[in-house]
Subunit: 218 residues, 2 copies
């Protein structure tokens, strides 16, 4: 995101525009940003153009709200600060074992993916995924992980179906090397799909509902 937008978005966020529409004139925003009414008006138009905010231009006062896209960009910067000031070498996500729809296994078995997984992870994944439902208080950490460069796996087409890009994040579960698989294009996530050399569910005797920690290296 262009740095000039981040300052304006942050001020709007502080005024509460993340949760709801706020009434703010271009003059007021200009004052907050230490710039003229005219420049603030232009900045608003740019933010609208970039779809970082949406606006309800009333008769007297405009009302502004930060969009999901805008909030995502802000979270990216927030997570950068967290990395700077809460520097640790790993991050633990807590969750419970869940049963997926069985789809994950089908996807990761595709040779187009499997070849790349082997190269990145230096092991051959078991042909299935372990699904972990992330505890609500840790869902925010997923965003944080996603803002950190993982290992990109490029998509492909096969038998007329298209398989999109995915990202791998190396992790450990009870000291066993594994990886989190995340589709590049996906939004809100509360479930992690884990691949591993072993059948984790059997190897660790895990059952649905069991608590589990996933440790991600950052």
């Amino acid at each position: 995101m262009d740095e000039k937008y981040s300052f304006a978005l942050r001020k709007l966020g502080l005024l509460g525009a993340i949760d709801d529409y706020i009434a703010i004139s271009s003059r007021e925003l200009g004052d907050a940003l230490e710039m003229s009414q005219q420049s603030a008006s232009k900045r608003i138009l740019e933010l609208l153009d970039e779809k970082y905010i949406e606006r309800d231009l009333g008769a007297r006062r405009q009302r502004i709200r930060i969009t999901q896209k805008g909030a995502d960009e802000m979270k990216k910067e927030y997570n950068e600060y967290r990395r700077i000031f809460e520097l640790t070498d790993h991050l633990t996500i807590h969750g419970t074992i869940a049963t997926g729809m069985g789809e994950g296994g089908y996807y990761i078995c595709q040779p187009g993916y499997m070849r790349q997984f082997q190269k990145i992870l230096e092991f051959t994944p078991f042909e299935g995924t372990l699904n972990i439902l992330v505890d609500p208080e840790d869902v925010g950490k997923i965003d944080m992980i996603r803002s950190i460069a993982g290992h990109n796996v490029t998509g492909f087409n096969c038998d007329g179906r298209s398989f999109g890009n995915v990202v791998l994040y190396k992790a450990k579960i009870r000291n066993i090397d594994c990886a989190i698989v995340v589709p590049e294009r996906s939004h809100y996530m509360d479930t992690l799909e884990i691949i591993c050399q072993y059948h984790l569910r059997r190897t660790l005797s895990l059952n649905d509902g069991d608590h589990i920690d996933v440790k991600i290296d950052i």
Copy 2:
């Protein structure tokens, strides 16, 4: 802080320039900031001029480190994001009762301060302060509070001594209204000075070393 500096400082922070000097050429910084070598060089000179960074210009490669002043500015922005994304209506700081140097009591008794305290707090403070040594893990919260506008108390001169500006933050200890008193000009802090209508130490039967929570409204 000018927004153009925040982007550069954040990138330097991510590269580890908070903890230590890092070797980075103006070309490398330019690449990271998506600007030319020339502009990055200029930006470095500006950051030096503003004392946000310090530099060790070696024969081959310059080494750069973020100063305390630069880190403080970054923390201010970090805390703004925390306010946006971790929005709660109050914040609790944990600490233990400590014995101050008795100086706090002398200062706050000055009529020049006392009059303003009464007006802001709507009570007459007891003529002494309660000192709380903040737990190390909560020291960061103090910065966060300081970045939020408190109530300003203007300094004055009296009997040839000068008493500086201080800031009040309304708080509660075990549901009793009180306030944190912070000198406007002071840096690293691990101790809170509390003023209250009552003699807190006696009223709550507190002894040195007792654990205590201070709840600050934000």
